[in-house]
């Protein structure tokens, strides 16, 4: 056990837990933040994606100890932002959501990408999404949604 301090969704947070605990379990089981999902549990599917210092990270293979001192944002907090509204509407309009399981991770991947590269090419979008699997859509609608979000949200990123 150790006292680990980090910023979670904008708030100073201290948890007293084993630092080998997966960040995903900390978020879901201790904090009740269930937006990040467990898909594969080994960093292949991206359903567990969160933003760490505003970069996409797989929380299922990040130990709590590596979160010390970092700034962590989950989909719950990101969904309060204007950027989220633009991305969410674009996903809806492009028909990019079917079962929805991968979508919190997809939106985190979208934000991580647009934050670095506000006007990505299709290849850059596909690379940005490359760690996130979706078994429903076949990805084309998600790529479309991101192009739409980048266009509509011009200036937000």
């Amino acid at each position: 056990m150790a006292e680990i301090r980090f910023i979670l969704n904008g708030a100073e947070t201290v948890v007293n837990e084993d630092p080998t605990m997966r960040l995903l379990d900390v978020l879901r089981d201790l904090m009740g933040l269930t937006g990040a999902k467990e898909g594969c549990g080994e960093g292949e599917c991206g359903a567990c994606s969160v933003l760490v210092d505003h970069d996409i990270v797989n929380s299922c293979i990040m130990p709590l100890g590596n979160a010390a001192g970092r700034d962590i944002m989950t989909i719950e907090e990101f969904s309060k932002t204007e950027r989220y509204n633009v991305i969410s509407r674009a996903y809806e309009d492009a028909g990019a959501v079917q079962c929805g399981f991968c979508i919190p991770g997809m939106i985190i991947a979208t934000e991580s990408l647009l934050n670095k590269n506000p006007h990505p090419s299709e290849i850059e979008i596909r690379d940005g999404l490359s760690g996130n699997l979706c078994r429903c859509t076949g990805y084309n609608m998600i790529v479309k949604a991101i192009q739409l979000a980048a266009e509509r949200g011009d200036g937000l990123w």
């Binding site: 056990m1 150790a2 467990e38 797989n58 130990p63 991580s112 990408l113 490359s130």
Partner: protein
């Protein structure tokens, strides 16, 4: 339950390591998968764990006169976007894992992990990488060929950490990197190949080739390289068979769930030909 240590400075990390045998956690992207446990249970670490991610001192890329020094905790994403890093290493980083993993996975971790399929390794061999290893008592510099001794095996001594990786400057006008995997992302290499050559006035002055995932360690043969140096680029295709045979003797691919030995070997031979064709075109 194992104990965990989260030092804030490099000195503190060396102090902790000097007192016991610990599992060293860099980005954790491989280790956390290896130690994965049933749902709801903590990962199954047997030894106490030292977390390095809080040590900012080990995250840097410094270009000096004829070399680049890379702190061991520099992430793959930082390598990918740094203009100071040789383009071949950036190319290798670009097709490793996925953005989420690249943001936490480190260069030091890829080396310490010592997987034969570690994708930065063939490029590090090509640039004669020196691994700077430190313990509280001493610093030693070891060429990467000597540091990695087999799959998952290194010459790490008690209390030691990888501090930095030094890449020697190399002059190439032909660069080649290819990774063959099941898909473009999140794929463990079936085979990878990094190569570079420098041809001037029609003569091959320098040539280096390194193969990943086809032998217990990355395969690079300086004897074969030396035998090509000084020969005319126009004649390099005549040497192709001899070069293929040379590498055919030192690589020793296996059958596993990702691929089979025959395919892996064929890919290696084809990539040698493809690379030599590019050297030939440079004459």
């Amino acid at each position: 339950m194992v104990r965990s240590y989260i030092p804030k400075s490099y000195g503190e990390a060396l102090d902790i390591l000097s007192k016991g045998d610990l599992t060293i956690m860099a980005g954790g992207t491989d280790l956390m998968v290896k130690k994965r446990n049933r749902a709801g249970l903590l990962p199954s670490f047997q030894k106490d764990v030292l977390f390095l991610s809080g040590i900012k001192e080990l995250s840097y890329i410094n270009k000096e006169n004829s070399s680049v020094r890379i702190g061991s905790m520099t992430t793959l994403e930082e390598i990918l976007y740094s203009k100071q890093i040789p383009s071949l290493l950036r190319e290798a980083a670009a097709i490793m894992a996925s953005p989420g993993i690249r943001h936490t996975a480190t260069l030091g971790g890829n080396i310490g992990n010592a997987s034969p399929a570690g994708d930065t390794l063939p490029v590090l061999y090509l640039y004669n990488a020196m691994i700077i290893i430190e313990s509280k008592r001493q610093t030693r510099e070891v060429p990467i060929e000597e540091f990695i001794t087999g799959p998952g095996r290194t010459t790490f001594g008690p209390g030691e950490l990888i501090k930095e990786i030094v890449l020697e400057e190399a002059k190439f006008n032909v660069l080649y990197y290819k990774k063959i995997g099941g898909r473009k992302t999140d794929a463990i290499s079936k085979v990878s190949f990094a190569a570079g050559a420098f041809a001037r006035n029609g003569i091959v002055e320098d040539i280096r080739m390194a193969f990943g995932a086809v032998s217990p360690r990355v395969a690079r043969d300086r004897g074969i390289e030396d035998s090509i140096k000084g020969t005319p680029a126009a004649g390099i295709l005549d040497l192709a068979e001899e070069i293929r045979n040379g590498y055919g003797n030192i690589i020793n691919p296996i059958d596993d769930q990702r691929s089979n030995a025959k395919y892996r070997k064929k890919c290696c031979m084809n990539m040698i030909d493809d690379f030599l064709g590019k050297v030939f075109a440079e004459q």
